[in-house]
């Protein structure tokens, strides 16, 4: 099953989104990676890398991010993986993309399918 990593500047934002996305995807590993270790706002590369490891259960990991600098941190974390093809960063609306990706992962979708669900997510009806 594809795992998700939610890269945010805010710990609470990432954790809240993880609980929201988990509601419809109870079996998916959804790892929040938000904020700096001192509690201030920012993205923590080491926390993101650790989250990617933990989200991986064999099928790959999708990363989503809140703002542009979080995207750069996410990209870097993927590039530094032993096998960068095991993870991908979605250019998707953060909340809407994470929920859609979680549902797609829960449904057994592969990395491409989960990525497509994220990037094509809009505000739901």
């Amino acid at each position: 099953m594809i795992g998700l990593v939610l890269v945010s500047h805010s710990a609470r934002l990432a954790e809240g989104l993880a609980e929201l996305a988990a509601q419809m995807a109870p079996d998916v590993r959804i790892l929040p990676a938000g904020g700096l270790s001192d509690g201030t706002l920012g993205t923590d590369f080491d926390a993101v890398s650790t989250a990617v490891d933990r989200a991986e259960s064999g099928d790959g990991v999708l990363l989503l991010y809140d703002l542009g600098s979080a995207k750069m941190t996410a990209d870097l974390a993927v590039e530094m993986l032993g096998d960068p093809s095991r993870a991908a960063v979605a250019d998707a609306p953060f909340v809407e993309g994470a929920v859609a990706a979680a549902v797609a992962a829960q449904g057994g979708g592969d990395l491409d399918t989960v990525m497509t669900a994220a990037v094509s997510a809009g505000a739901p009806e």
């Binding site: 509601q23 419809m24 859609a100 549902v103 449904g107 009806e125």
Partner: protein, 205 residues
Amino acid sequence: MTCNAEGVIAAMRSVAQVVEAHRDELVTLDREIGDGDHGENLKRGFTAVLSKLDNAGDTPGAVLKIVASTLISTVGGAAGPLYGTGFLRAAAKLGTAETLTPESVADALQAALDGVVARGKAEVGDKTMVDALTPAVAAARETSGSIADVLKAAADAADKGAQDTVPLVARKGRASYLGERSAGHMDPGARSTALLLRAFADAAS
């Protein structure tokens, strides 16, 4: 049922009982294609309604208005604004009339449906409560007879409408996230609509 405020209050008490009794069923349905809270949401809402029913009002409309605002404030999920708007519109339709008639009941159901559609923008076939309420309103309008007859026709049609949501692919609400995977499951909101209408029909007979 007596067709005044007291009768509506009594009917709401049995609705609350039915919701409580079917909490787990609605949770299970919502777990399949949603977030698994529909039964709990409605139970929370109607438990709060119960606590407001004593002297809730002198007219059916006044009682339904209290029900509406209580559901809006307490349900916590899509069903809150949807049922809340439905009850609110029904209340407005009934106005200050002291008693219900078969015609005013059908009109109130129509107003409730219109409110649910205005709130949620769902069409028939989207796999929502609208799929139960729409045939229920049509059946109510076509039925002549007592209030009990009107509500029984509505409940029967809602039951069938809810059943008919099983093969549908959801296009509104959380279930729409599942796409094709939403087919094969009854929509929880359509089921709860059928349960509510059956409770009203039973209370009226």
